[in-house]
Amino acid sequence: MTKTKKIPASLTLASNRDKSDHLAGFLSISPWLIGFILLILGPMLASLYLSFTDYNLLSSPSWVGLANYRNLFSDARFLKSLEVTFTFVFVSVPLKLIFALALAMLFNTGRKGSSFFSAVYYIPSIIGGSVAIAVVWKQLFGRQGAVTQILSLLNITDANLIGNPDTALSVLILLVIWQFGSPMIIFLAGLRQIPTELYEAASVDGASKWRQFFNITLPMLTPVIFFNLVMQTIQGFMTFTQAYLITGGGPLDETLFYAVYLYETAFEYLRMGYASAMAWVLLIIIAVITLVFFLTSKYWVFYQSEGGR
């Protein structure tokens, strides 16, 4: 009798404690949870709804169905912005990663001062996305900027590189490549993970440095390369500050990045509904590309813990 009474009692106790544990758990993540719901999920759902309306910021939205999405693909400037953004990502991301890897390998040799220099090279990526650097960059490459004057003294070109439709995008690509610091640090960490025995064994077998690079370093680094590739690609698609501040999308729309056009549509032309549709299309583009990376990763990313492919 006493036994049967005790058991349910202890059970209720236990489940009470379970409940209060859950509550405590939810409460402790609540700052993040509330933040997520209010600042991310809410606005996202709102923009999904707005993308099906003609919302213009000043009057209430009315439903237009898929019209915004349909119009996108006959909008010459939208297509131009896609072209610019894809060119930018496909040129800048590989170059940036190659640069980052090359320097990471240099600093990994453990020569004197290498940690100092790796810190120095990291600085651009901390400050590189900032407004101040964009303004400095604009000055340097502007009509009377230092770079422009040096180039003209060296008789290379007289042109104002950011005012010239043929070169403006290249200047922005250069600026972004210059911010190779964060992938470099990650590469550096990755390089230090590679067991030195592998290189020792390879040297004993007489493998050249190039051979070691392609057969040891690169395969062992693939998880890190994969990570950097995904992050940098996503970042590349969302590039805004540099283009908005330095070229404003011009000249002749040659640097009309996706995010710049989106901003212009939303806040200058007040086509919030249309801009929301653009935002969702960008989300889909990034999702698809990331998915492709993940799906192909099993063919080229090598995880040590799995004992090879």
């Binding site: 405590a24 609540s30 009509r143 000249p251």
Partner: protein
Amino acid sequence: MKKYLWYVLLLVLFLLVACNGAEQDDTTNAEGDRDQEDNSETTIRVAWWGNQERHDMTLEAIELFESTYPDISVQPEYTGWDGYWERLNTQAAGSNLPDVIAMDNSYLNEYNSNDLLVDLAPLIDEGTINLDDVDDVYQEINHDGDRVLAVASGANALALVYNVEMLEEHGFDLEPGFSYDDLFEMNLTIKDALETEGQEYFGYDFANAEYELLNNYVRQHGMSFYNTEGNGLGFEEAVLVDYFEWVQEMVVDGAAPSHDIMMSYIEGGNSMVQEGSSAMQTAASNQIIGISQGTEYELDLAVLPAWDGVHANYIRPSMSFSITAHSAQQEAAAKFIDFMTNDLEANEVLQAERGVPISSAVREHLSDKVSEPVQKTFDYLEVVADYTTDADPLSPPGETEVRGAFSRIVESLKYDQLTPEEAANQFVQQAENVLN
């Protein structure tokens, strides 16, 4: 365990309160106003755009206002032109517009059609805003039928700002009546002369106002930029082709600087006329005040070129003030507008920098107190009055986007990537797309 829970709860409560508090600060100023009303003080928010000089003068005038009306305090919100409308648009979306906003003609219709502006007619009729000394011509453009949407804080007209000595030196003058082709010839002549001396000369500075100049050009043809219904353009494509031919010729033949040079001056806040690498530029007449600062050259204002002998200028109100529909303090807001329009002391501080004051009493009071460039804007408005035709109706909502399309097409035109015919055709199509 229990203690820990309490901490978490407290933290959450704190966060919620913090969020809530912040929200109130941002979005419900009206409530704050009501609180303050109990202490018999009203707060109004006033927004305008401009440069540092204008900000300083306006803040000083606001101090005068506050000492005249001790029960009203003004919370200023000022920025440069860039970002001003983006800021207002987002505030409009949040039903949180300031009580008084500086209004530009190009946005008046957009804001009016979205019911964001208060009709000022009753406030004017009852005398809270006193416009007794104001000629109708200054306020015409701010009417929508019987409704009054804004009160101009100054008047100006599109003009050429030119370097007096430089033109004299090369034997030119800009007496009203010169043509577009004359501008072309003058600038090429000056350029040749100066470049043989080794001086840099860019030619006619469009100052990114090709759109405004076209507006004048189509008016000279007896047409208007937008049709009366506001759902399409009001001029013929052939007129635009002519205009584009002239613009392209100017740039390609070197009588005007290339687009990137022009833009780099504008973005840097510099002016070619100021530094002497151009003899003339398009500008609103009040801009001569800013350009005159930091230059040793003597500058003056000239009437825009005539087309086939025809002039079609118009005097336009600039930097008008409107009261927004979100304002809970319309009475106080109206007093502010009245003060800025009529108070002599305040206008002494403001130095007619927004344009020639619309009140004749203020104009008279200021006439012997203003600096030379300001005096020139006064004189110019009298001169240009002989060369005006009726003002056009307000530009339709969507003008910003039409102007955006126009700038891009002019850019291509100046880079010689489009023929005038192609450019005109593209612009007409894109503009009709936006306006329909």
